[in-house]
Amino acid sequence: MRAYKPKDNVQAKAYYTDRFYVAPQVPKSAVETDEVFASDLEAIKAKFEVKDAYIQVEQMVIYINAHDIYGVLELMRDELQYTQLSEMSAIDWLAKDNTFEIFYQMLSMTKRKRIRVKYFIENGQAVDSVEKLFRSADWSEREMFDMFGIEANNHPFMKRILMPYDWQGNPLLKTYPLEGDEFAAWYEVDKIYGKEARDIIGPELRDTARVDRYDSERFSRLGFEVPKGTKITGDEEPHVESYQEESGVFMVTKLDKESSKVIDDPQR
């Protein structure tokens, strides 16, 4: 029987999990345990709806509504001194409930605190660009668009950034295999030589460790070289490499190991 493979998540999965295995949780603590975070959260809560907030690994995580993101980040930048957007990207939850989770990693250099602002969007929904607040979001949102296909409203230049402009597919989606789809596999051949060259060049050889010592067409063993195409039997004569031509180049005399000085101390 052929094993069932889920189509909505083609990433590597554990081949065996104990039936009774319950994954432990990274401990979360209440926001009140840290007074800086507590006051920040109060300030945000006064103006916007905060769905959930907790502290995990020394950083506060807050969940907000998708349409509030510009306002929240503006408030955090102008009033709460979170002056830097370190990072933003998305997490693909399409297989679970058809949503993307977007996170914004904020840094306050005066308070030495980091907050992660998060929200969920539906598949196909666009996010609001925060490029006007933080220029760093310009490239981050382009990367997110490239990798997940999530568009950002009001972005000045919503184009692919890492993949070529004529690329198809969004590589970081869970439905996209690591080795790429057929388009990816033949991209460079199609582009440079055309589709008809596929047969001549052949498919990609993904097994990088494949070495066949009996194949003298494609491999040569250093020290035991034979002419191309010779049948290898295993009793080839070792072939001594000399670094100079036999009689020496006529300007340079023959180098020999005995009379040359070997420097073995690199720190000399």
């Binding site: 990433q11 994954a23 990274v26 690994v57 997490i91 933080f134 490239w139 890492l162 993949m163």
Partner: protein
């Protein structure tokens, strides 16, 4: 031999030319010797002045985040080497620290000291490499040869430790795999004793050099607001007037026990960045001297542990694996299936030589990370070229790219 036929269309196929001005569009890269990798810049020029710059990246995008989702945690460690390949150990460390925070591990002190050695040696290697390449781009061949000479000595030390020159993979989740070799401290001391004189040599060659000053001073000035807005970190931010060093502000490892200064400047130009790199090399040397003392103290106190003890996540020492049944079983499971960190997420930032290197890991309790986002500083240091280059002249492009210290393994990941 006849030219091999191909179907490539003329070069500017993806740019529109329906403009009615006199702008010249100049393509810079992706194979340009002073682009520090595979940077492609589309420069719109008004005579020699740049009016619009459009950096095009992705020429070294190798899909590392996707790889991480398909690899067990320990398997991903060598891949992080290839991000910022000038200073590989700092990437190893960033990833190891993120996973350790996720599973809540405490690393033995001796391992911490060895990690500090590796991190600071990597910082020195990275800064020396930066100096060499930037000086070469600007035409100072001597400095290139000098700085590479010193860098080779550091590489010898690292090679003695882990066997690799460039891609170290010298740090494991939970500690370090090996103790330092016998000759490590001696070689390091010899190097560090020579270093101040070497740095002075570079400075004598550059600091009062008229060409160097003309191409560095008042060129590529980044204001504080711009640096913050673009997410600049590391020397780029410190040159623009913000004294922010994660080693100082959010100390990890033993950085709260060592004494060092954070050099910063409020000029924001190329020259300020150059000065900061030079000063940071001196500070690294200071830290390394203190690390030597700490290591010797560890030796005296008999602290020999190199890996944390956490049987659920980390394999036992080799001797235990070879002699004890349960350790062998655990090791087998950890190698074949991988460790399973708890459900949760973590973002950990470390100060790599280039800036803030962050790892965001979202774990769903499986042996593979559900999402791993690499926050590489160079990505934004490349992005800032969009706003920084307009107004400058063509020759300035090279010196600005040089001082931003971008590495494309990290930009494109």
């Amino acid at each position: 031999m006849a030219q091999v036929k191909n179907r490539l269309t003329p070069f500017f196929e993806n740019i529109t030319f329906d403009r009615d001005d006199n702008e010249l569009v100049l393509n810079f890269g992706p194979q340009h010797p002073s682009a520090h990798g595979q940077l492609r810049l589309m420069l719109h020029l008004q005579q020699e002045q740049i009016v619009k710059a459009h950096p095009d990246i992705g020429y070294l995008h190798r899909g590392m985040e996707k790889m991480a989702e398909n690899m067990i945690y320990n398997e991903f460690m060598p891949t992080t080497d290839r991000m910022d390949y000038i200073a590989s150990s700092s990437n190893n460390y960033g990833f190891a620290l993120a996973v350790e925070k996720l599973i809540g591990l405490e690393v033995p002190r001796r391992a911490k000291v060895i990690r500090m050695f590796l991190l600071e040696i990597n910082r020195l290697m990275s800064h020396l490499f930066w100096l060499a390449t930037t000086a070469l781009d600007i035409g100072a061949m001597t400095v290139f040869l000098f700085a590479f000479r010193e860098r080779e000595y550091l590489m010898d030390i690292i090679e003695g430790y882990c066997g690799a020159r460039l891609t170290h993979a010298a740090i494991r989740i939970g500690g370090v795999p090996l103790d330092i070799q016998d000759s490590f401290l001696g070689q390091l001391r010899v190097f560090l004793d020579k270093l101040p004189q070497n740095i002075k040599d570079y400075e004598d060659l550059l600091d009062s050099n008229r060409i160097w000053l003309m191409r560095m001073e008042e060129v590529g000035t980044i204001s504080t607001e711009m640096a913050l807005s673009w997410g600049c970190t590391g020397p780029m931010l410190r040159a623009s007037g913000v004294a922010w060093d994660i080693r100082k502000e959010e100390p990890y490892e033993l950085y709260d026990e060592v004494e060092f200064n954070v050099p910063f400047s409020d000029k924001g130009d190329n020259f300020a960045r150059y000065r900061i790199y030079m000063e940071e090399m001196r500070e690294s040397a200071k830290i390394l001297y203190q690390c030597i003392e700490m290591y010797e103290k560890c030796e005296k106190d008999g602290q020999t542990e190199l890996m944390a003890h956490a049987p659920k996540y980390i394999s036992a020492p080799k001797l235990d694996i070879m002699t004890q049944n349960y350790s062998l079983m655990q090791h087998f499971v950890l190698v074949t299936q991988g460790m399973r960190p708890p459900v949760g997420e973590v973002y950990v930032a470390t100060e790599s030589p280039k800036g803030e290197l962050g790892f965001y890991i979202n774990s769903q309790g499986g042996p593979y990370p559900y999402r791993l986002k690499l926050r590489a500083p160079s990505f934004w240091h490349t992005g800032i070229l969009t706003d920084l280059l307009p107004g400058h002249y063509i020759p300035d492009v090279v010196s600005i790219i040089g001082t931003t210290n971008i590495v494309f393994g990290e930009v494109d990941r």
